[in-house]
Amino acid sequence: MSVNDGLVVVVLAQAVLYGTPLLYAALGELLAERSGVLNLGVEGMMLFGAAVGYWATQRVHGADAAVLVVAVMAAAASGAAMAAIHAFLTITLRASQIVSGLALTIFAGGLGLSAYFGAELDLATLPATQQFASLDVLGLADLPVVGPILFDQSALVYASWVLTLLVALYLGRTRWGLNVRAVGEAPASADAMGINVTGYRYVHVLVGGALAGIGGACYSLSIIPNWFAGDSLVNGAGWIAIALVIFAFWRPGLCLVGAYLFGGLSALPAALQAHDVTITPELLYSLPYVMTIVVLVVVSTGLAKRRLGAPAALGIPYVREER
């Protein structure tokens, strides 16, 4: 047995695989929150993206790579469409961001639109036709330890690294990124500077939804290429992604670290079972949820007391006449 089949390497490689949907969703939520809009509908948007992405692979015919690209784009579009409802309600109609986000999760989630869509289009009975295979771009997959962890992953994983870098550069190094931060921190000042607060918020909520949709597609096109009725496909990942944004102090780079940490926790049960380690499964399955709470507590007692990173206007609708 080579070192690459050892438990630690397998879990780390799976951590990257399972962390990727969390990373996409967290980056999307981060963009929305940086513009001042909290969207608690991530879970619903992810599941709907997963459903639409899976459906697209069934209906689109062509070269494998092209089909998968179309499927990911369809997932992104469906996530953005869901986010548009939230954006309209909270930005234009000034509804409570918390209740609207919860409503979005109920509407789009496993007992709502995703289930309706899945049942109407018979997704559960259709076999998976396409899925992202691991891609050994640099020919380094056989390296000990780092090979399987970093170089034997799917295109979705590599793209997520590029995306993390892009989001970090966008927020930190571009004029638009600076404007987004202004909109999230002090919308009235941003408005006075001539920045279109409403426009920026709409765009970032929609992009956030698109990324959540792609995150969902990571499940149905790569991790568990299948469709199940109910919410078992995404299973709380959307909520963990929201917690990750807090955990990462609204910084893209830290999102990546957090995503892989929680990805590892999600991957642990299956990996341990494959290595014949018997621990009560419920205990293992509850690990990501319990750890989310623990990490949040640590973060919020310590650094976040100074509200490090939290956009000052997060959750507050901007009404020009009432500033």
Partner: protein, 377 residues
């Protein structure tokens, strides 16, 4: 030009008219969606109304569906009033079911015979366990300033795994291991017959849980509208800073409100066990998503306890129709989609209650007399 300005006073009639209007709009949107997906909305709505309300025995079944979401709706309303977003009613209800079934089995072993004793003991055990489960996010929020939305939600998953463990993966006190069949197909121990809660009425059957729920709603209304506690809660909700300057103890209120909220959700668990399942049934509890529907109920009722009762019956009818009609003509998920759309419309309608929307042609005249026009002169 459309102008949106904040209302100084909110007319009473609006808070009734707007939800009804929102409901009408929601059904209109739903009709469009159904038509687009190739179904006849008129037929589906008529079927749903019959299956939910007018059909033979339909209303009794609706009340059964309404009972748990009445409790979770009240639980959500109790917490959301203080802008404490306890979305853990789901898990608190599970814990309530665990507590209620435990005490019922205990009393059964000791040979207690009278139903009132069971009902009271089950309610207390369920309320306490539900409240304790809700106190976890409450303590974290009060003393560690941790976001209660995420912690209470994460605990839902943990509670779900806990009840699954109790019945499916352990030889716990709750699991029935008396027969060979029960050993291979895990299920909860059945409760003694005296622990089954009574029902009232003959043509329309009202479960005891529903009556308890209505009593809780009345108590909640008194607590929030007629006591100092309720007043302080609404001050904290409106302005935490003002509350602090006035010397109100915010931390204590957080703990108390979350405990009340969790306790009510726990009662929902007791009612599930005592009214309907007569055992701890993890699969049924987790499939029903009572806690999440409760949020819809509370939001539609605008956190008013009496409105929660009405909305719970309405949405109970919707759910019951969903169960009855589910099949090729009525795909699963349709009820969730409807609930979502109704909630979206109600949220949008909120704008009309809080703001005055005027469409006027004054904009042009304003421009004529505005600074720009003056400068031009």
């Amino acid at each position: 030009m459309i102008r949106i300005e904040r209302r100084l006073e909110q007319p009473k009639w609006l808070s009734v008219a707007v939800p009804i209007g929102s409901l009408a709009v929601a059904f209109a949107i739903m009709a469009v969606i159904l038509t687009v997906t190739g179904r006849d909305p008129g037929h589906i709505f008529r079927q749903m109304f019959e299956a939910g309300f007018t059909g033979n025995g339909a209303f009794s079944a609706t009340l059964i569906s309404a009972t748990p979401i009445l409790f979770t709706g009240l639980a959500a309303a109790a917490a959301f009033r203080m802008l404490l977003f306890n979305i853990g009613a789901e898990g608190q209800l599970y814990l309530g079911a665990v507590g209620a079934s435990w005490i019922a089995l205990q009393l059964g072993e000791r040979g207690a015979g009278s139903t009132p004793v069971y009902v009271i003991a089950m309610c207390i055990a369920a309320g306490v366990l539900g409240a304790l489960w809700a106190l976890i996010p409450a303590v974290l929020r009060a003393f560690a300033n941790t976001n209660e939305i995420i912690t209470s939600l994460m605990l839902n998953y943990v509670a779900g795994l806990l009840i699954t463990y109790l019945i499916f993966d352990s030889a716990s006190y709750w699991r029935d291991v008396s027969t060979l069949q029960a050993q291979s197909f895990p299920q909860g121990k059945p409760m003694p017959a005296a622990a089954e809660w009574p029902t009232f009425g003959s043509s329309v059957v009202v479960p005891l849980g529903l009556l308890i729920g209505i009593g809780v709603a009345a108590a909640l209304w008194v607590l929030y509208s007629r006591t100092r506690f309720g007043f302080e809660v609404s001050v904290i909700a409106d302005s935490p800073r003002a509350a602090r300057y006035a010397g109100m103890r915010t931390r204590r209120k957080i703990l108390a409100v979350m405990a009340i909220s969790g306790g009510i959700a726990g009662l929902g668990g007791a009612s599930q066990v005592g009214d309907f399942t007569y055992t701890l049934d993890p699969t049924g509890l987790q499939g029903a998503a009572f806690g999440y529907t409760g949020i819809v109920v509370a939001a539609l009722a605008r956190y008013n306890p009496f409105a929660v009762c009405l909305v719970a019956v309405l949405l109970g009818g919707l759910q019951n129709a969903g169960f009855t009609l589910q099949g090729p003509d009525f795909p699963s998920g349709l009820v969730g989609v409807m609930q979502g759309i109704i909630l979206f419309c109600a949220l949008g309608g909120e704008l009309l209650i809080r703001y005055r929307v005027t469409v006027s042609r004054r904009a042009k005249r304003d421009a004529d007399s505005g600074p720009a026009a003056e400068a031009a002169r």
